[in-house]
């Protein structure tokens, strides 16, 4: 039979004093000396702080840069955030499904709550320039939200049923997620992010080409790149009743246009040229 030990904690003696001694031995700090340290040191620390000089920033204004600009009005920030939320709700949704194993309805609810929270409360404090790109910010903030806020929010809002995204009207296929076995939630988020961006660029390409009166160019682009079966120029030429060189030209033009649209879409989530370059490199880099 074991001895009746009630605790492994040492008894007697103030805890912090003991720890202070430990610290003194281990990190060469004499606990007595800190009293004698003068105010001067504080001053020299302050003197060393930076004086940041404001320079004109050459990168064009994007949704994200607008959102994180120091002097933007709240209303415009809200608007930007809402637009970004509409485009990027799905990576968040995918992350939630994977990380928290939530079912579809619940994940959609939390997604709503997250963006609502981002827009209404913490946004102004948290989305500062130092956070870098939108994608990075999203990941960090999402984790933070999940750990600290979600439950509290949910308790408060239960029954409140606030919605900022109209997810309910979307077809069921809009919630389809890729196979996530063996992948971390972050990897799933990134992967869904990539497909959202690629798809959104196709959508914009369609709008632009159609409004410019070139629906055929878009149609050829879709037939060639998006259809399941592989088609060659000759068959497309036959289908559209034109020469195969016309098909080739249309495809070249559409590809070029697609690239430029894609660049714009990605640029919306960053705030400088260097960030854009990094983000592009990440986007087309190996999927981890």
């Amino acid at each position: 039979m074991c001895s009746p030990v009630r605790s492994l904690r040492p008894t007697g003696g103030p805890k912090w004093f003991r720890y202070t001694r430990h610290l003194a031995v281990r990190y060469d700090i004499d606990p007595r000396t800190h009293e004698s340290f003068s105010e001067e040191t504080e001053l020299s620390v302050n003197a060393a702080s930076p004086s940041s000089s404001g320079h004109r920033r050459p990168f064009p204004t994007t949704r994200w840069s607008l959102l994180i600009a120091q002097d933007a009005e709240d209303e415009r920030r809200r608007e930007s955030m809402l637009r970004l939320a509409e485009q990027y709700w799905k990576p968040v949704y995918a992350y939630l499904c994977q990380r928290w194993r939530l079912d579809a309805t619940e994940a959609a609810d939390v997604t709503q709550a997250f963006f609502l929270w981002a827009i209404e409360t913490e946004l102004l404090d948290r989305a500062d320039r130092s956070r870098g790109r939108f994608r990075t910010w999203l990941k960090v903030t999402l984790k933070h939200f999940l750990y600290d806020r979600w439950r509290a929010e949910r308790r408060q809002k239960r029954g409140g049923d606030q919605r900022i995204l109209s997810l309910a009207q979307l077809p069921a296929t809009a919630f389809d997620l890729p196979d996530a076995t063996g992948r971390t939630p972050e990897e799933v988020l990134d992967s869904v992010w990539r497909s959202q961006v690629l798809q959104r660029a196709v959508h914009i390409l369609e709008e632009e080409l159609t409004s410019e009166g070139r629906p055929r160019t878009y149609s050829i682009f879709c037939d060639y790149f998006l259809a399941e079966e592989d088609v060659d120029y000759a068959r497309l030429a036959e289908r559209y009743g034109c020469k195969s060189s016309d098909v080739s030209n249309a495809l070249q033009a559409a590809k070029k246009r697609y690239r430029s649209v894609l660049r714009r879409v990605i640029a919306e989530t960053v705030s400088s040229e260097d960030e854009l370059r990094d983000e592009l490199r990440w986007f087309f880099g190996p999927e981890s």
Binding site: P4, A48, R151
Partner: protein, 855 residues
């Protein structure tokens, strides 16, 4: 297509291929800060800090080249001043082979456009044409020298050719220095320029030697590179190149294609000793002219005797000894001779003064001798470390330490103490280093170098301390973390830390002035550390990046970035930065440690992930390397122990932790982790031995508590130990309420610190639930209350961590004891779903579930 339509994978793949060229785009015009009279046409090239564009000057209708700062350097004072300096330097020079500057501001330079590309881009040029180009370039460089300017970065990429290939232009005076003012940036160890084209004196980071002959060397190296196709010492691995530049001779040029005299001229430029090169760039140009005209050249190929001599001379210890001797004789005669000549009124006075002078001289000699030798030792050790010759690096440092000790035996000296401290620190003997630096500062509070060294040392220790603190207070990935993770709250808890931080800040605020041991980039690094210390993380990051941009070899900066990423939980970035440091310094122990930690943390964040094992293995092999590099380091064994724990190899973990504890009894986490390893092992054994093992674990936790009281995770650990003991006792038929109560109290204590500790909630729930069935536990409370408490705890745990198998398992157990079998079955099934595939608890839980279902 509808905006929310989901495309199939094959379509997405094709779209990605279509977009892929975007990743390589380099011809994107920057949004430029240039006035409207210029229209940017295209990008000509991108460098580390700048972008050069072709532009049209609309007011004059001519084409110009415009050099802009890259956006990320737009606000950096360093980059702006470099740009302005370049403009001012070039504006002073008027030479047909230097591109003229038209206009310059802080943001851009507009200059003459040269559009034939750089020398590096010219295909197969015949040697005569190369000689012509280098001759003209040498004349331009000489013009700069006459104006007191050293280029310092001459290479094929910095010499442009016009479209016809007739005229060359020397460009990029961004690193140029004025000879007269040049001492501040030219301290030992600083590597300025492009390694492949660096002169030996530059490669060693020597400053006194960098001058006209450095540029002559680079012109020769450029000549060599265009003639042979490769720089004199290749360009693959930067460290090998630097080492080769200092120690070996370049391969001879192709004798069939290149005339002997041209080869001789090239080799004369590439002499290791500056005095044996051409005395000026003009002399090089003249000799090339002679060769082009078919006249005899001045340079002579080395004779056999000379080759022998140069071989001897490469053993440079002798040389340095001689040099030091000469300097000393010089000093002695300058001081002694006037003294002997002067008339003294009193012979006694004269004698005393003589004695005083002699002592002063002796100490000057001592210092000079030591500083010279040790600055060499430090540079050599650094070089050795970079190329991975760790043993050599350590040996050199040890020799240096011996020298310091021998010197200190003759009497105290602030400078020697400082050197001693610096060497000790480089050798990883941190406490001793701190003591030596304190002594140095005590002797001479004005010695700024000692302050600076101590400041950086303190920041390192503070971050280590903070890391340990954070680890101690982390309470498992499933629980929401308490706020002690913030540095400021850490500091509020411990006034000593505040003192340490202030001391470091004061130390780092010193003005280093001109020190042979530190460079401008070191000061920038110090500023970065200071920023980090006062919580300006983003600014610190920016400064660290600035340091890396200035000097890519600055391993410490990579390490600091890795550590920051680690603190922010960005494991990938931490791994990337640590790898970068390792690639640049094979002997960087701390880099391996950081990478090991980052990989381990990344794995533990997602224990059921597919990458789990791979990441832990990667972490383990780094930990192995750390042990290999620093054999007696307790921390290294501790870190490897953690890897073994993550791999569930309890034996190996205990073995490593034993070593760690034997080497450093104060390593508090080693005690607690050993307890954890023993606990896990005991759980697997399930026999009489288990009880003994648990007792050992209890002793470990007790020791951990002695070292650091009040750590919630130790409470959780003791709770788990008592819990296991209670189970073991029950198995042996010795069931009593004692252990259950002890466990419950420990868990409660943990929850007093942090009410959201999931593991403690689960533990307490299971204890209370178990107590409902133990005889003699009436003191614990009525059965109904215990059940209620247990259910409340389990419910809260599930709410806090809906994917934690621990929480579901506790729920199942509590429900089963309370008679809610259906709920128990459901909860157990959920727990099983969240358990990783290799988890040892799986089998146990499965059999329990079967039993439950059978009821």
């Amino acid at each position: 297509m509808r905006p929310d339509e989901t495309l199939p994978q094959h379509a997405l793949d094709r779209l990605r291929d279509v977009g892929a060229p975007l990743a390589e785009e380099t011809d994107v015009l920057p949004e430029s800060p240039v006035p409207e009279k210029y229209r940017l046409v295209s990008v000509l090239g991108r460098g580390g800090m700048g972008v050069v564009c072709e532009a049209e000057d609309l007011s004059l209708g001519r084409r110009v080249a415009i050099k802009l700062l890259r956006e990320r350097f737009g606000d950096s004072g360093e980059a702006t001043s470099r740009l302005r300096r370049e403009a001012m330097v070039v504006a002073r020079l008027s030479h047909p082979n230097i591109a003229a500057v038209f206009e310059a501001t802080d943001r851009y330079i507009a200059m003459e456009l040269v559009d034939g590309g750089t020398l590096a881009e010219q295909p197969d040029v015949e040697p005569r044409r190369v000689a012509l180009w280098i001759r003209d370039a040498a004349r331009a460089v000489h013009c700069a020298h006459e104006a007191g300017i050293i280029h310092r970065d001459i290479k094929p990429q910095n010499i442009l050719v016009d479209r016809g290939g007739h005229r060359v232009f020397v460009t990029d005076f961004g690193l140029a220095k004025e000879i007269a003012v040049d001492s501040s940036l030219s301290a030992s160890g600083r590597v300025i320029g492009t390694p492949a084209f660096m002169a030996p004196e530059q490669a060693r980071g020597k400053t006194s030697g960098v001058g006209v002959s450095t540029d002559v060397y680079a012109l020769g190296a450029t000549l060599y590179a265009i003639l042979s196709g490769d720089p004199p010492f290749g360009e693959d691995d930067i460290y090998t190149v630097l080492k080769a530049i200092v120690e070996t001779q370049p391969a001879p040029l192709d004798a069939e294609r290149i005339a002997p005299d041209l080869r001789t001229i090239t080799m004369k430029c590439l002499e290791k000793s500056p005095s044996k090169r051409y005395a000026s760039a003009a002399e090089l140009a003249d000799d090339l002219d002679r060769w082009l005209d078919g006249r005899p050249i001045v340079a002579r190929p080395p004779t056999r005797l000379e080759r022998f001599r140069s071989a001897v001379k490469r053993r440079r210890g002798l040389m340095i000894g001689l040099l030091v001797g000469l300097v000393l004789i010089g000093i002695a005669s300058a001081v002694l001779v006037p003294m002997f000549l002067s008339q003294k009124e009193s012979l006694g006075d004269a004698r005393r003064e003589l004695e005083q002078e002699r002592q002063d001289k002796a100490s000057v000699r001592r210092e000079l001798n030591l500083w010279t030798r040790l600055s060499q030792t430090l540079t050599d050790a650094q070089l050795a470390g970079r190329v991975g010759e760790v043993e050599r690096e350590q040996r050199l440092l040890d020799e240096g330490i011996e020298l310091c000790l021998a010197d200190l035996a003759q009497g105290p000296s602030a400078k020697t103490h400082f050197l001693h401290g610096k060497l000790l620190r480089a050798r990883g003997r941190i406490s001793e280093a701190r003591a030596a630096l304190d002594q140095s500062i005590e002797l001479d509070p004005a010695l700024s170098e000692a302050h600076f060294e101590r400041g950086t040392l303190l920041v390192d220790r503070l971050t280590e301390l903070y890391f340990e603190h954070r680890e101690l207070y982390s309470i498992g990935p499933e629980s929401p973390q308490p706020t002690v993770r913030e540095f400021s709250s850490f500091e509020r808890m411990f006034p000593q830390v505040r003192f340490l931080r202030q001391l470091a800040a004061a130390d780092l605020s010193v003005d280093l002035g001109q020190s042979p041991f530190y460079r401008a980039v070191d000061e920038q690094f110090g500023q970065a550390k200071l920023a980090r210390l006062i919580g300006e993380t983003e600014r610190a990051k920016e400064l660290f990046l600035g340091v890396l941009n200035e000097e890519p070899l600055y391993v410490e900066a990579s390490l600091s970035l890795a550590r920051l990423a680690l603190e922010e939980g960005d494991w990938t970035e931490a791994v990337r930065r640590a790898t970068e440091a390792i690639e640049r310094h094979r002997g960087a122990t701390r880099a391996y440690t950081l990478r090991s930690r980052a990989n381990l943390a990344g794995a533990l964040e997602n224990p059921s992930g597919g990458q789990y094992r791979n990441k832990v293995q990667a972490s383990l092999s780094d930990a192995d390397r750390v042990i290999e590099l620093s054999q007696d380091d307790a921390q290294a064994y501790f870190e490897r122990g953690l890897c073994h724990l993550a791999l569930r190899d309890w034996e190996a973990a205990i073995e490593d932790l034993d070593v760690a504890i034997a080497r450093d009894e104060d390593l508090v986490r080693a005690w607690s982790e050993r307890a954890r390893a023993r606990l896990e092992q005991a759980k697997e054994i399930r026999s009489d031995e288990a009880l003994a093992m648990l007792r050992e674990a209890e002793a470990d936790v007790r020791k951990a508590f002695e070292l650091r009281p009040g750590i919630p995770r130790f409470e959780v650990l003791s709770g788990r130990l008592f819990f296991e003991r209670a189970l073991a006792e029950a198995r042996l038929g010795q069931a009593s309420s004692e252990s259950w109560l002890a466990a419950r109290e420990a868990f409660s204590e943990a929850l007093r610190f942090w009410p959201q500790t999931v593991s403690a909630l689960c533990g307490r729930a299971r204890c209370n639930s178990a107590l409902t069935r133990v005889e003699g536990s009436e003191g614990a409370g009525p059965v109904e209350m215990l059940t209620l408490l247990a259910r409340a705890d389990a419910k809260k745990a599930v709410e806090l961590a809906p994917t934690s198998p621990l929480a579901w398992r506790a729920t199942a157990e509590v429900a089963a004891r309370a008679g809610a079998t259906d709920e128990a079955i459901q909860a157990a099934q959920t727990a099983l779903r969240f358990l990783g595939p290799g988890d040892s608890e799986k089998a146990e839980l499965e059999s329990w579930l079967t039993e439950l279902e059978a009821r």
